[in-house]
């Protein structure tokens, strides 16, 4: 177990400017060890703010966040790629900042997130999706007691997106907590998650939206295997041919089929 108890917000208030409107008001929520919470809401509702308060990136104007675990992994919505380091240099330095001297940890995440061919590439030259994977890797170098994912699917390809539910499951199974924001309906990847909705600067627990799409009565399911690298193209072609693609499944993550965009 990586955290002593549930992380809890006590009457949390936050605004960005002294006289500005409240972004979040009187937030009283908690996350239990082993729990995954999906934070829903429209753009600008305050999802990222809530996540950053939970991660300790932002300091609340009023109220406190209690029992935040010692190790927090935060994946920002946009990875800051404007830095003069290569992928490996960056991840090695972030590992050292977390007190990890064993570079096999870095290598393991580079391999798992399919970053091997980009280790010598400067961060500024990475594609958006690859940079996002680097952002994901830095958050996981030290097994987090709290993993905060801000729109983690943004820019990722179909194969990489299947890794996220798998990683989330690993963190929660080890007793960690996961907070993940989503405004694109990717939440079907996390079927056991609790759902919060941020609306009018308030946070409420909501019922889970409908799960993975099912075939219509006059349809059958044809299972097709394609190469990982061709997955995105295959989805596009099948849709162009008038077929409905219900899910993309990676054998490495059999429990968590993904609904492609």
């Amino acid at each position: 177990m990586r955290s002593a108890g549930p992380i809890k917000t006590d009457d949390l208030w936050f605004r960005y400017a002294r006289r500005g409107p409240w972004t979040l008001r009187a937030v009283n929520v908690s996350v239990r060890p082993g729990e995954t919470v999906v934070v829903l809401g429209r753009n600008g509702a305050g999802k990222s703010t809530l996540l950053q308060l939970a991660a300790g990136v932002l300091t609340p104007v009023r109220g406190t966040v209690r029992h935040r675990p010692r190790v927090v992994g935060w994946v920002p919505e946009r990875f800051p790629a404007d830095q003069p380091f290569t992928t490996r240099q960056y991840l090695s330095r972030m590992a050292e900042i977390r007190g990890i001297c064993d570079h096999t940890v870095v290598d393991a995440w580079i391999e798992r997130l399919l970053l091997t061919e980009h280790t010598g590439t400067r961060l500024a030259d990475l594609s958006k999706g690859t940079a996002q994977k680097v952002g994901l890797a830095q958050a996981l170098l030290d097994p987090p007691g709290l993993l905060v994912l801000d729109e983690p699917w943004e820019g990722l390809d179909a194969v990489a997106r299947t890794l996220i539910p798998q990683i989330v499951a690993e963190v929660t199974e080890a007793g960690g907590m996961v907070l993940v924001s989503d405004h694109r309906g990717e939440i079907t990847n996390l079927p056991d998650a609790t759902h919060w909705r941020v609306e009018n600067a308030e946070v409420h627990e909501t019922p889970a939206p409908h799960q993975i799409a099912k075939p219509e009565p006059d349809e059958v399911i044809v299972e097709v295997a394609v190469r990982r690298t061709d997955a995105d193209r295959a989805v596009v072609h099948l849709r162009a041919a008038g077929h409905r693609v219900l899910a993309v499944r990676d054998p490495a993550a059999p429990r968590t089929p993904e609904v492609p965009r």
Partner: protein, 226 residues
Amino acid sequence: MSALVRMRLAGFTRGGRALPPLIAFLVVLAVIYGGGASPAAAAYGYSAAALFPVLAWQTKLVLDTEPDVQRRLARVAAGARREAVAGLLTATLLALAVCVLAMGTPWLFTAIDTTKDPVGGTLLGILAHLLAVPPAVALGALASRAVTRSALVGVSVLVVSTVLVVILGLSGSFAPWLVPPVMATARDLNGDTVPPAATLLLLCVWALAWCAVALTGYGRLRRTLS
């Protein structure tokens, strides 16, 4: 914390942001030593005063090199206090390196008058530079983007504060204690005799007290802003 300091040093030196303050530093040296050899104490007193704005500017550049989101990632990885202290430490190390260059370079061009107590003058010069570094770092930190949020406000804080350091530091100023004793140190080192120990002690206490206030403010602002 040393890993974060190393990462920030690498980010600053590799990114090319070190070049503008380096050029300013060379201009300052050329102006101070271009007129011929001077006694060590007087030359170093002026050097410390002239370098003060360069060191403050360099500190702001060091602290602003990292993208805001990366600074927040460092905060999550290392903790808020360590992240803030690592930034100050990085800036201090770079400022000390500039001071070493500033004190060593004139010897290469025989710009120090060796007939007038070069050893005593050099020791006083070291003290003058050491008294300039902490206030410069503190001022640069207060002008950094993490505190001011915008480039315009940051540059304004830096420029206005530097001008105030000069104006309020002039002889006969109505409130010299509002600013660090950069000008006062230069004046005391420009005399014909070595300043008394009590004067040097007062300068040290004055500089440290000013830094304590400025850095306390910086710490409080960093706790509430990110």
